[in-house]
Structures are given as structure tokens and as C-alpha cells.
Assembly symmetry: C2
DNA sequence: AGAATAGTGTCTTTCAGACACTATCAT
DNA sequence: ATGATAGTGTCTGAAAGACACTATTCT
């Protein structure tokens, strides 16, 4: 916009333009590590490789709207579940040759959900598979993200990604790490009520490091985001932990 | 991409698609505050309002490439200057009605430059004007950005923005604040060599707060990003300060 | 000498890391 | 009682804020 020569282009079809899609990093936690939902491509190009679920952006929907639609159409979320999922724009990828068929620019989104919703989405659509992400801790640089099928216990054969989706995943993990301790992203990966131990596990899974227990508890409780529910977890064979609920800053 | 029904769309013109642009927040510092370069719109819509420089994204250029082209074509940067300017993707705005003429999605970029380059760009193109940004310090929320013409010393009449460009500016300021103390963004607003006082002024201008001098110096020097040049600033009527140069982390 | 800022020494407070300790629950 | 984890008290060290002080340059 703000183009002087714009008026000449008033006919929307006058100029060739890139196609626009959204691609979603559907992220949850499995086995104490970040995990994503992927689709195995059946057609060319990149047949047999793993891709993020996505869709074209319609003329009459916002980017967030298109991302929400993918959540419902491709991950089997009900409108209520989709509204409860934390959806955040990540970055826009526009390399000229990122798709060999034609010029496609994609707006990547990060969708965070608790483990239960992650598993439900996985089961809702046979095309979806879950992959565990293994991210080397190399400080702040992009780093290479490796993904392994949930069944691949030995982490023997890493999955290969379609298009630039490995890059998108690397950006997703980095963003998550960066926002972890000043925002409330971690709570989007937890159920409604949770223990402090679970919260610490989430942080550790995202950071890929272990954290000091007393310091972590102090920091979390001092922040004022946690409201004790008064009840305790059940089903343990040891002392059950207090359950907390996330509540906005006052 | 990753659309099953994709093959049906193999004809690039088959589906109506949003137009795609880049818009640039050309940012420098003036009078100890953040300032941006804006273009006053002459045509409808939003004639008389102030807009960010931007352009459509060509089929054969990347997003970063299109942003660099705007830098050269609209801000009069030479290729060398453009390459030296720090250009960073900010966020992608896709509200359906953000442009009344047609559906346009825009990828916003933040371009940071030292004061000299900022003034040179301002003078290179008569259509460009500089505006001082006044951002209320309301913690982390979006907040309203007000802009005033460089000549408007009393800050009497705020400029009104075209399209959603006020929102884009708010995101830009917030991003800058967020990255200020873990990244090297501040150095992009300073000349090659600079004093610690100038560095502190940049931080204060972006944050909108004043900072503790000894603590600031300690933090900056301990980070290891500053290399003393051995020479001192000139032209002062008092003790001249040591000049430093930014150098990457080892 | 005086003015003005550069640059530092040090005290205090705050907070993270570490470790050990106590508390509580199921079996 | 035992085992296992929840949860806390406290020491230590690192780093920020505050304040006052010294240092250096120009006029």
C-alpha cells in the first residue's frame, strides 16, 4: 500500500501476485519434550516428507481466521476447542523458491495446546502424526531441529520435512523459549488445573535444561499468576501436590 | 501449501488471492525520542493522513528483498547504505478491511538507522517527513502511539495515520523495547563509534525511562560487546568521553 | 579556578542457585 | 515404619540501584 502508482492497479487482478497461505505449528508435549502434529505428503512435490498443516488464505478471512479454520478443519477441533487454543502469529516466510510449484508466501502460526487436546487432535484425523522434537541447546542461534516419530523410541531415523518447514519449526521453538519467562505461554500447554511440578516440567521441556526447584517455585508464586485451587492432585502413591490455576495479572 | 486440494489450483491465477505488500517503519532518533519517516498521502483513501513507505511484493523477490527495495527507492538509500541498515521483519497484518480498496495483506518491517542516515533519508526525498513518537509507558500492552511533526515543538497536533499504520508503529516500539536488553538493536541506532552516554541515551529513548548510570555502564561493559577505540569524542567543552565500537560476541 | 561531564568505589537490596531439611500422603 | 515426592528455611554469591566521590577536559 501507500504506493503512488497504486491507482493504476485498482483492478485487483491486474498484477501477478504471490499466493498466500498460513501454516500451523500444532504444538504440545509428549514424553517431556515438545511435540508437533505433522502430515505426511502423498503427492509431489516432497512426497513422503512431513509438512505442517496449512491452507490458503481466503479473500474474506483474516490471517488469524484462516489459522483458526485450519485448526478446525485439519486438527478436528470444535469451535470451542479452537477458541481455547492459544494461537499466535510466528513469522512470515517468503523465499522465492520455497515451493517449487509456484510463488507462495506463508504466514506461520504457533498453536499451543495441553497434552489432552494434542492427543485428541492426533486421533481425530488419520492423516496427522505426532513427532517429538529434539533441539540441541546451542544458545540463541537457529540450530537444527530434529523430529522423530512417536513410535521411534531409539530416535534412530529423523523425519525429513517438506518445503522450509524445518526452518519454521526452529523459529517456533526459539520463539517459545524466548517468551517463556516473561509471558504466560507455558500455561497454554497445561490443563486448567496443574501442579507446580507440571509447570516446571513444561519449562524444562521447552528450554531443554533442568531448573532449580526452590527458585522456580519462588519465581512463579511471586509473579502472582497462580491461584491455589485448594484441592490436590489424586492418583499418586505419595504426597499429592497442590493444584493451581492460571489467572491473569491483576 | 500442504493443501490436499492444491493440485486443482495449479493454475496460479485460478483463485482470487489477497494482494501482498511490505510496509517499512523507518526508525531513527531525534530529540532524544524515537522518530519515524512518513509519507503524507495525497490521494484517496486517507488523503492527508500519514502512511509508512511500502510497496507491493513482486513475484520474483523475497520479502526481505522487497523491503530492501523500498529502502532504496523510497528512502533514497544507496545499495551500500541499504545493506548497512538493520532490517527486521516485524509482523504481518491481515485485517480484511485494513485497506478500503481491496484486500491487502502487509508484512511490516522495522528499519533501524543512525541519526545521520535518518536525516539523509529525510532530505533525499521531499515526500518524506519525520515524526517524533510519543509512547505512554503502560508496561507491556499495545498502548497508543502519538506522532508529532518535527516542527511541532509544543506537541500540539498529533498526526493522524492512514490505514492501520498506528497499530504497526505500536508493534514496532514494543518489539524494540522487548529486544533492547538481550539483543544488539540499540547499536543499529548509533554511528560506528559512540560513547557510553550516547548508548544510554538510546536505551532511555526507546524505553521512555531513565536508567542508573553505574549499573548501565557495568552491564554494557560486562557483556563484552564493546571495544574501546582508544580515542575520545571531540568538540565538547568538558571532559571528552571514551569512544567505543560495537563488536560481535566472541 | 570553575563548570561540566566522565568515570569509579562501595553500600545496600534483591534475587537466583544450592542444599538440606521438614511435611505429608499411600502402602 | 517406609518410600517417595511436596514444600520450605537458609546460606551464599551475583548483580542492580543509589549515592557520593574522584578524574579530566575546556574556558
Amino acid at each position: 500500500m501507500t504506493e503512488e502508482a497504486f491507482l493504476e492497479a485498482y483492478d485487483p487482478a491486474a498484477f501477478a501476485r504471490p499466493a498466500l497461505t498460513v501454516d500451523l505449528v500444532l504444538m504440545g508435549l509428549r514424553e517431556g519434550r515438545p511435540a508437533v502434529l505433522l502430515i505426511e505428503r502423498k503427492e509431489h512435490p516432497h512426497a513422503g516428507r512431513w509438512a505442517l498443516p496449512g491452507s490458503f488464505v481466503g479473500l474474506d478471512e483474516t490471517l488469524d481466521g484462516a489459522a483458526g479454520r485450519v485448526l478446525r478443519e485439519k486438527a478436528g477441533f470444535s469451535p470451542v476447542e479452537a477458541a481455547r487454543t492459544r494461537l499466535e502469529q510466528l513469522y512470515t516466510f517468503g523465499a522465492v523458491d520455497r515451493d517449487p510449484r509456484m510463488r507462495i508466501v506463508t504466514v506461520a502460526y504457533l498453536a499451543l495446546m495441553p497434552e489432552a487436546a494434542f492427543m485428541k487432535a492426533l486421533e481425530s484425523d488419520a492423516r496427522l502424526s505426532a513427532a517429538i522434537l529434539v533441539v540441541p541447546w546451542d544458545g540463541t542461534t537457529g540450530g537444527i531441529v530434529e523430529a522423530f516419530s512417536l513410535g521411534d523410541r531409539d530416535r534412530a531415523t529423523p523425519l525429513s520435512f517438506a518445503f522450509d518447514h524445518a526452518e519454521i519449526l526452529a523459529v517456533a521453538i526459539l520463539r517459545l523459549r524466548g517468551k517463556l519467562d516473561y509471558s504466560d505461554v507455558a500455561f497454554a500447554l497445561l490443563p486448567e488445573v496443574f501442579t507446580l511440578r507440571q509447570l516446571q516440567d513444561v519449562h524444562q521441556a521447552i528450554l531443554g535444561t533442568s531448573l532449580n526447584k526452590p527458585a522456580f517455585r519462588r519465581r512463579m508464586l511471586d509473579r502472582g499468576w497462580l491461584a491455589p485451587t485448594g484441592s490436590r492432585e489424586g492418583g499418586t502413591s505419595f504426597r499429592p501436590a497442590e493444584l493451581y490455576r492460571f489467572q491473569e495479572m491483576p
